[in-house]
């Protein structure tokens, strides 16, 4: 049932997503401006979506697709809220 080539492809995908998550976390730590960190947070939510889709394949239960919807909604709302926060902070305090 499980082809060794298919499981190898799944392992490669997991490794690539793991590397991408490390790179994005480095950007969250290093980001010079708050907006850079928010972009990296949005990308982290997209990586969460990717990992949930991969978990739906490896575990075989399609309930993880619902998790995808939840993570995407939370990521969108967090990005918009942080954007409003950054904009308001810049208009009140001048330079940031």
């Amino acid at each position: 049932m499980i082809d060794p080539v298919f499981s190898a492809i799944l392992e490669i995908s997991k490794f690539l997503l793991f590397l991408a998550m490390i790179l994005v976390c480095i950007r969250i730590v290093r980001g010079p401006h708050a907006a850079d960190r928010v972009v990296a947070l949005d990308m982290l939510c997209m990586l969460g979506v990717s990992i949930a889709a991969l978990a739906a394949i490896t575990s075989g239960s399609m309930a993880f697709i619902d998790v995808v919807l939840g993570i995407a909604l939370i990521g969108f709302l967090a990005t918009v809220a942080f954007a409003a926060f950054i904009e308001r902070g810049s208009s009140q305090s001048g330079e940031n």
Partner: protein, 139 residues
């Protein structure tokens, strides 16, 4: 056969997602980073979701996957637009190699502050235009 479709989409999607993460780390500018995270960051998870749909195809799964992909494609441009405007007003430094900045003529952080402080003056001027109720009350 469907398993190989699934493997193809999963591999391409994870490669594109990795490229998006690499761009978020390595590109020199906030707006370039946002470009990487927005475009490649939507296509990669969408391809992974399509690969998950090919792994166990059923109508309910495909409906959920279509909803998720549609949601991603609808919300990510809105979030990127709002965040780009907020970053520009927040004073993000552009890359030194930027040759042209047309948005600065319309919407720069300093201009935004001036218009914020000068908004009452503009309102008064607008009220004192001929024909407006304010001028009629003055006479």
């Amino acid at each position: 056969m469907l398993m190989w479709f699934s493997a193809f989409f999963v591999l391409i999607g994870s490669i594109i997602t990795f490229i998006a993460g690499l761009g978020v780390l390595r590109l020199p500018d906030f707006f370039m980073r946002m470009h990487a995270a927005t475009k490649a960051g939507v296509v990669g998870p969408s391809l992974l979701l399509v690969g998950a749909g090919f792994h166990e195809p059923s109508l309910a799964t495909w409906i959920k996957i279509a909803l998720a992909v549609l949601f991603l494609f609808m919300t990510t441009p809105i979030a990127a637009h709002v965040l780009g405007k907020a970053g520009f007003l927040g004073g993000v430094h552009l890359w030194q190699g930027t040759s042209r900045n047309d948005l600065k003529k319309v919407l720069s952080p300093s201009a935004f502050l001036e218009t914020e402080s000068a908004r009452p003056d503009e309102k008064r001027k607008a009220d004192m235009m001929p024909g407006s109720p304010a001028t009629r009350q003055d006479h």
